[in-house]
Structures are given as structure tokens and as C-alpha cells.
């Protein structure tokens, strides 16, 4: 088996076997990528140009769905509610998560504490929604008993037009702040302790150390948290499906709920696809923008 002097462009036997092995290893994932990601994405674009209720053959309508969308008040309402939901949700989630992370970093390494903090994230949205439906029940819920106990009026929570979405956001904050805290905690543990020592020697206060050292060095984690939690919140569906189902009076009909309703209640596959493509584009623009603004690729510790 002497290695044949191969021409530069022909693959040697070893290189050929390497290629074959590689493709054999990649094949299952490749099939999954093509069948469940690539083709469906292309198909979603195609469907968005049709009028299709799954019963008759799809009918090509060009940009009609997109035109309808722009004039559909419920589409804009859904987008607005989703954006509003993100604004209600993210700042508090990040601040509380950061606070939890810094406290745990300073106070305790206890696995028990970490487990409790992380627990809500490990429960399904459906379970979490169920628990909070009960906690926030207008008639019998614990929260209303407490509110009444301290002399305020009972609140409808999920049943109130002006507070249903706020309530969903609060529930989501409860579920996610522990996850955010764990991610920040991992980031905190990568910050060299001697930075704090040096700062302390120069008389910096805890508060100054937080703003000047901790926060800037957490930037990579911050970008990750912001990108994933904003795009995730924009796609909120499960909690709403279980608690309010879009009501009362459409006050929680966020965009994904409206898309699902169009697809599986009204069977408007084309229209639903047009809206989902639009949502996808909006989120991609956000992601790129966020990564640019926060210079995600630069590392302050290197």
C-alpha cells in the first residue's frame, strides 16, 4: 500500500474515505435539517403567497396576504401587544435575575438555593400557568386574599382587560428570572476576583464595583440573555393558550396567538404564513441590531 503520487485535484484514497465517513456521520442531521428546517422555511414563504384552507388546492395570490396583513387591525394589535409584552417582561426579568445572581455569588454557593431558584424554569409553561391561575383566581386565590387582607381591592388579573397581559408577563418573569440568574452567575464566576481586590484597595464602594467591573464584564452573557429572552418573549404562546386564550376582549391576543388562530381555527394557512414570515424578519432584524449595538463578539477579558 504505497501512497500513490496523486494529482493535486484528485482525492487520495484516505481523503476519499474521510469524505465518505464525514458524510455518513452528518447524514441523519442533514436529513433533519433539509426536511424539518430548510424545506419548511422555503415552503412557508411559498404558502404565504397562496390562499389555502388545506381542503382545496392552494391558490396563488401573490402579495395579497401581505397587503391584507397591513390593513388588518388585529395583526397590528397583535404585534403591538407582543412588543408591549416584551417591554413589560424583559427589563424586570433581567434586573431581578441580575440581582439574584449577584446575591448568590456573594452570599451562598448552596446547591439547594440554586435548585430552588432554577425550579420554575424546569416546569412546563402549562404547569406554571395552571399554578398561577389558582394563585391569582379572583374569588379564591391566595394573592387576592393577601391583597384584601392589607386593605386593597381584589383584582381580576387574567380576567381584567387592562391587566391580563401584565399578569401573563408577571408569570413569565416568575418562571424565567431563575434561569437568567443562573446564566449571570456563570458569567460572574468568570470574572477574576483580583479585579475586585484591586478596586477595594483603591477605596471603591460595592456599588462602584458593580457598575465599573461586574456589569461591563457581563456583557457577553447580557447579549445572550437579551437576544434569547426577547425573541422568546415575542413568541409567547403556551401560557396564553392555557390562561386567557387571547381574551378578555383580545387584550392578550399576541401575534403568535393570532397566527395560530388563523392557521388552526380559521384554516387560513397562507395568511398565517405571511404573518409568521413577517414576524421572523422582525426578530432577525432585532437580533442583528442587538448584537451590533452590544458588540457581542468583543471580549473584555482577553
Amino acid at each position: 500500500m504505497t501512497p500513490a503520487p496523486s494529482a493535486p485535484h484528485a482525492l487520495s484514497p484516505t481523503r476519499r474515505s474521510e469524505t465518505i465517513t464525514a458524510w455518513a456521520l452528518v447524514l441523519p442531521a442533514f436529513i433533519g435539517f433539509v426536511v424539518f428546517y430548510a424545506l419548511p422555511t422555503l415552503r412557508a414563504i411559498e404558502i404565504s403567497f397562496t390562499d389555502w384552507n388545506l381542503l382545496r388546492a392552494p391558490k396563488f395570490v401573490g402579495l395579497d396576504n401581505y397587503a391584507t396583513m397591513l390593513e388588518d387591525g388585529k395583526f397590528w394589535q397583535g404585534m403591538k401587544l407582543s412588543a408591549y409584552y416584551v417591554v413589560l417582561n424583559i427589563p424586570l426579568q433581567v434586573v431581578l435575575g441580575l440581582f439574584l445572581a449577584v446575591s448568590m455569588d456573594r452570599l451562598t454557593k448552596s446547591l439547594f438555593v440554586k435548585s430552588i431558584v432554577l425550579l420554575p424554569y424546569l416546569l412546563s409553561n402549562v404547569l406554571v400557568a395552571m399554578m398561577w391561575l389558582w394563585m391569582l383566581d379572583p374569588l379564591l386565590g391566595l394573592v387576592n386574599s393577601l391583597i384584601e387582607g392589607v386593605g386593597f381591592e381584589r383584582q381580576p388579573f387574567f380576567g381584567g382587560v387592562d391587566q391580563a397581559l401584565l399578569t401573563v408577563a408577571a408569570v413569565n418573569i416568575w418562571r424565567h428570572m431563575g434561569l437568567v440568574a443562573m446564566l449571570f452567575l456563570a458569567g460572574l464566576q468568570n470574572i477574576p476576583r483580583n479585579l475586585y481586590e484591586a478596586a477595594a484597595l483603591e477605596g471603591a464602594s460595592e456599588w462602584q464595583m458593580f457598575w465599573r467591573i461586574t456589569l461591563p464584564l457581563l456583557r457577553p452573557v447580557m447579549v445572550f440573555v437579551l437576544v434569547t429572552s426577547v425573541t422568546g418573549s415575542f413568541q409567547i404562546f403556551d401560557t396564553i393558550a392555557v390562561t386567557t386564550n387571547g381574551g378578555p376582549l383580545d387584550s392578550t391576543r399576541v401575534i403568535v396567538h393570532y397566527i395560530v388562530q388563523n392557521a388552526f381555527s380559521f384554516y387560513k394557512m397562507g395568511y398565517a404564513s405571511a404573518m409568521s414570515m413577517t414576524l421572523c424578519v422582525v426578530m432577525m432584524i432585532y437580533t442583528v441590531f442587538q448584537m451590533r449595538v452590544m458588540k457581542a463578539s468583543e471580549n473584555d477579558l482577553a
Partner: protein, 308 residues
């Protein structure tokens, strides 16, 4: 990057020694409050599940039920007739909990095993083997993470429907079991960090790439494989939307779907809270069990998913 300071020096920082400063006490109080807010709903679930429906109005804010009973668990699990259950304030609805649990376990296990295996295979090829199209394909895989589920679910639903796979386990697992961009990306990162010398020694001895993958790389990768398996498992255990779309039949329902349909069967005006909370309590159990048995691994896996 931590080489500048030795752990011994780091541990001797002043603010680790002072324990009872006002700031620390305030922080402890705040942390404890957050823990209570986290645990209170779970406690109320258990407490309500142990209550008698008749006491709901009088004892809704009590910490402990005055007359605890296991009746709610019995009727949710179907150990009572529908009439007996209605007599206790239920809707007659029940969860076939064991079947839903079985479905959930099967659903999660199939996806964890297949997805992690296929991701590891692909990740190894991307990390170590040269083949035409490698970089483009890897970029596409990573790019697939950017496509939100809301784009693909309609075409995927239509595909599963056309293949006649609605209400089947195959239809439920199909979109998850072959490829997940994050798993491939995550494992490739780890494989890249394994020193090449180890493999080159084996190559010189005449080992094939497949042999190196299964006998050198995989044994060195138990921790990242466990991490990605854990993350996939948690996500799939909690997955609601896709199983809800493709498998509404009771016989195929996974736990979150079963719980949702149990809820939607109870009256809107006067929900069967003791029954709902018994069902909720049972459904929470596997997660608590996971934390008790594998707590550290779970916490570390979740941390790995973001920071690294």
C-alpha cells in the same frame, strides 16, 4: 484567563470574611423573599390538592388544610367513578396520568437518544474531518437556530398530516429527533478543544475515524454529552405546542397536553380547583425528583447553555 490569581488569594478577599454587614443582611432578606415567592405557588398547589372541595371557600388563604384528604388524587387518577368524582365537586374529568407519563417518557427518551447521537456524529465530522461543503453546511446548521418555530410549524404540520402521521409518536418526535442546531454547535465546540495528539496517535496505529470517534472522542466527552442530553430532555419534557398540534388524541397525549385538556374539560365559571391542583402536583413530581437526584448536573447544564 483566571491564571493571574490563584484560588487561595481569591478566597482571601476581604468581603468574604465580614459576614454581618448591614448590606449582607439586607441581601439575605431579599434573597430569602425571592425564594419564598418561588416556592409559595408550589406549596399552594400541594395544599389545595390535599383539601376537600367543600372547604375551598373557607380555607382558601390557610397555610395548611384542616381536613386533608387524598380523594383528589384518587379521582384525578381515575380510581373513582365519574359519579363519585362529581359528588366531590369534580367535573368527572380525569387524566390517564400513567398513560400520559408513559407517552412523555417515551417522547423525551426517543428525542434525547436520537438527537444527541446524531448531533455528536455531525459535530465530530464538523470538528475534525475535511469534506467538501463542510463550512457552508455548518453555517446553515447554525443558521437554522435563527429560524423561529412559528415559521416552520405550519409546513411541518402539513408534512406530518400528508404523511398520515397525525396522532402518532413518530409524528410527535420527527421534527426534533434528527437535527437541532444548538446541539451540533455545542458539541462541535467541545470536540474542537480535545487535543489532536490523542487522535493522531490512534491514526498512526491504523485506526479508522469511526473507531476514533467511538473509542477516543466519545469517552472523553461524557460531561458535554450529559449536558446536552439534560437540556434536550428538559425542553422536550416541557414541550407543549408541537405535541398539542399533532397529537390531540387522548391515547397519544404527553403530560403538558393532558394537563391542558384536563383543565379545558372543567367548567369555566367554577373550576374544579382541588382536582386541577392534584393533577398539577402529580405533574410537578418528576421535575422535583430530577432536581433531587441530579441537582448539580441540572444547574451546571443550564449554566453551560448560555455562558460558554
Amino acid at each position: 484567563m483566571n491564571t493571574i490569581v490563584s484560588p487561595a488569594v481569591a478566597d482571601a478577599t476581604p468581603h468574604r470574611i465580614r459576614i454581618f454587614t448591614p448590606g449582607r443582611i439586607a441581601a439575605w432578606v431579599a434573597l430569602a423573599t425571592m425564594l419564598v415567592i418561588t416556592l409559595a405557588p408550589l406549596w399552594m398547589v400541594v395544599k389545595t390538592a390535599l383539601m376537600q372541595s367543600a372547604n375551598l371557600y373557607t380555607e382558601s388563604a390557610q397555610i395548611l388544610p384542616s381536613e386533608p384528604t387524598l380523594a383528589n388524587f384518587k379521582r384525578v387518577l381515575g380510581f373513582m367513578t365519574a359519579d363519585e368524582s362529581r359528588a366531590l365537586g369534580g367535573s368527572g374529568a380525569e387524566i390517564n396520568f400513567l398513560r400520559a407519563l408513559g407517552n412523555s417518557l417515551l417522547f423525551t427518551a426517543i428525542i434525547v437518544v436520537t438527537q444527541v447521537s446524531f448531533a455528536a456524529m455531525a459535530a465530530y465530522a464538523f470538528a475534525r474531518l475535511r469534506f467538501p461543503g463542510r463550512n457552508v453546511l455548518f453555517a446553515l446548521f447554525v443558521g437554522s437556530m435563527m429560524v423561529p418555530g412559528v415559521v416552520t410549524f405550519i409546513p411541518n404540520f402539513i408534512l406530518i398530516k400528508d404523511l398520515g402521521l397525525l396522532n402518532t409518536m413518530v409524528g410527535m418526535v420527527a421534527p426534533f429527533c434528527l437535527m437541532q442546531g444548538f446541539s451540533v454547535f455545542f458539541l462541535r465546540q467541545f470536540f474542537l478543544s480535545i487535543p489532536r495528539d490523542l487522535e493522531e496517535a490512534a491514526l498512526l496505529d491504523g485506526a479508522s475515524y469511526t473507531y476514533i470517534f467511538t473509542h477516543v472522542v466519545l469517552p472523553l466527552s461524557i460531561t458535554p454529552l450529559a449536558t446536552i442530553a439534560m437540556l434536550t430532555g428538559i425542553n422536550m419534557w416541557n414541550e407543549f405546542f408541537w405535541p398539542f398540534l399533532v397529537a390531540k388524541d387522548e391515547a397519544q397525549q404527553v403530560l403538558p397536553v393532558a394537563l391542558q385538556s384536563f383543565k379545558s374539560q372543567t367548567a369555566q365559571g367554577q373550576p374544579d380547583w382541588t382536582g386541577l391542583m392534584a393533577a398539577t402536583a402529580i405533574t410537578v413530581m418528576p421535575t422535583i425528583l430530577l432536581l433531587v437526584v441530579l441537582g448539580r448536573r441540572v444547574v451546571e447544564s443550564v449554566q453551560f447553555s448560555g455562558g460558554k
